[in-house]
């Protein structure tokens, strides 16, 4: 599959306000250009942590014909885990637009939802989200782009993304207890943090 239009949606109040520099977008842009040299890569202004705004941006880009929409950051438990963290809502923004998106979750053994990644298919292409830390964002994007090029299904895309992200955790090779799927838990209610 050749992709001609990629949209990057960075999220997070700390990015929008300039407290931290968005280094993810340039790195992901590079990945896209390596795979699809002729493609248009559009980086939207950073969204604050507002799932409605994120959903709206996704709808707009899909409507404009973007073949790969990538929402960056805001994928974890965030404030639900610790009051000092940002409210992470990107995954919920995607679910607003694509309720049946495929999902993969990575949980820490400390009870923290490290990240939830989604992949959804639409008429023109794909929507995915990736975690904010640079190594994890790059690893997830690489895995997703390779999977998309390979023509695999959304369930497999998110699995590959999750495996790639887990491999980025320091000490993961020695300490990851379950790099594959754990016992199926069946349907779960949407997270209400």
């Amino acid at each position: 599959m050749t992709v001609g239009y990629v949209s990057l949606i960075p999220t997070g109040g700390e990015v929008a306000s300039g407290v931290i520099v968005d280094t993810d977008s340039p790195a992901i842009m590079q990945l896209a250009l390596e795979r699809w040299p002729g493609c248009l890569v559009k980086r939207l202004p950073p969204e604050s942590d507002d799932e409605g705004m994120i959903a709206s941006s996704i709808r707009n880009e899909v409507g404009l014909g973007s073949q790969l929409v990538i929402v960056i950051g805001g994928s974890g438990g965030g404030r639900a885990f610790a009051a000092t963290l940002a409210p992470d809502v990107s995954h919920r923004g995607i679910k607003q637009v694509f309720p049946d998106a495929s999902a993969a979750e990575i949980w820490g053994s400390n009870g923290h939802l490290f990240c939830e990644m989604l992949a959804a298919r639409h008429d023109a292409g794909w929507v995915i989200n990736v975690p904010g830390p640079l190594p994890e964002a790059v690893a997830a994007c690489k895995a997703a782009m390779d999977a998309i090029v390979g023509g695999v299904e959304p369930e497999q895309i998110v699995q590959r993304m999750a495996d790639a992200v887990v491999a980025q955790y320091p000490g993961a090779a020695a300490s990851v207890g379950s790099a594959g799927p754990v016992e199926p838990m069946g349907p779960v209610e949407p997270v209400t943090e």
């Binding site: 639900a80 993969a104 949980w107 923290h112 830390p133 369930e155 016992e183 997270v191």
Partner: protein, 125 residues
């Protein structure tokens, strides 16, 4: 799929041995988190990952190091953070907290995932 019910096809539990550290009394603007991570990893001799940044504070995970060790080395932690571009340590900069993450069993995590998502607990020293 039933509307409003999300079926999660893939769930991973990553076993982590980390301490969550919060440093306050900073002035942060234009920071590249990976710069701080590099300085912290060098100073502490362990991998570090920035998990939250505000205008006056920074929160990071350090892997394989106890909270006691972090607190004993707090001066070094603040100095390492201040080496990064985009952050300045004020005279009141301090390690505000260093907490060891509580470990949950797989069964507990499964129950939490079913009933309401992320709500981890920390053991504060």
């Amino acid at each position: 799929m039933t509307e409003g019910v999300l079926t999660v096809a893939h769930r991973i539990i990553a076993v982590v041995d980390k301490t969550v550290v919060r440093v306050t009394g900073l002035e942060v603007r234009g920071l590249k988190p990976q710069d701080v991570e590099a300085h912290l990893s060098r100073a502490l001799g362990r991998p570090a990952r920035v998990i939250g940044v505000a205008g006056d504070s920074l929160e990071f995970d350090v892997y394989g190091l106890s909270p006691e060790a972090v607190l004993m080395d707090s001066h070094n932690v603040i100095r390492a953070i201040a080496l990064a571009d985009g952050v300045r340590a004020t005279e009141v900069a301090q390690v505000d907290q260093a907490e060891k993450a509580r470990k949950f069993s797989v069964e507990e995590l499964a129950a939490r995932a079913r009933t309401g998502g992320c709500a981890g607990e920390r053991v504060r020293l």
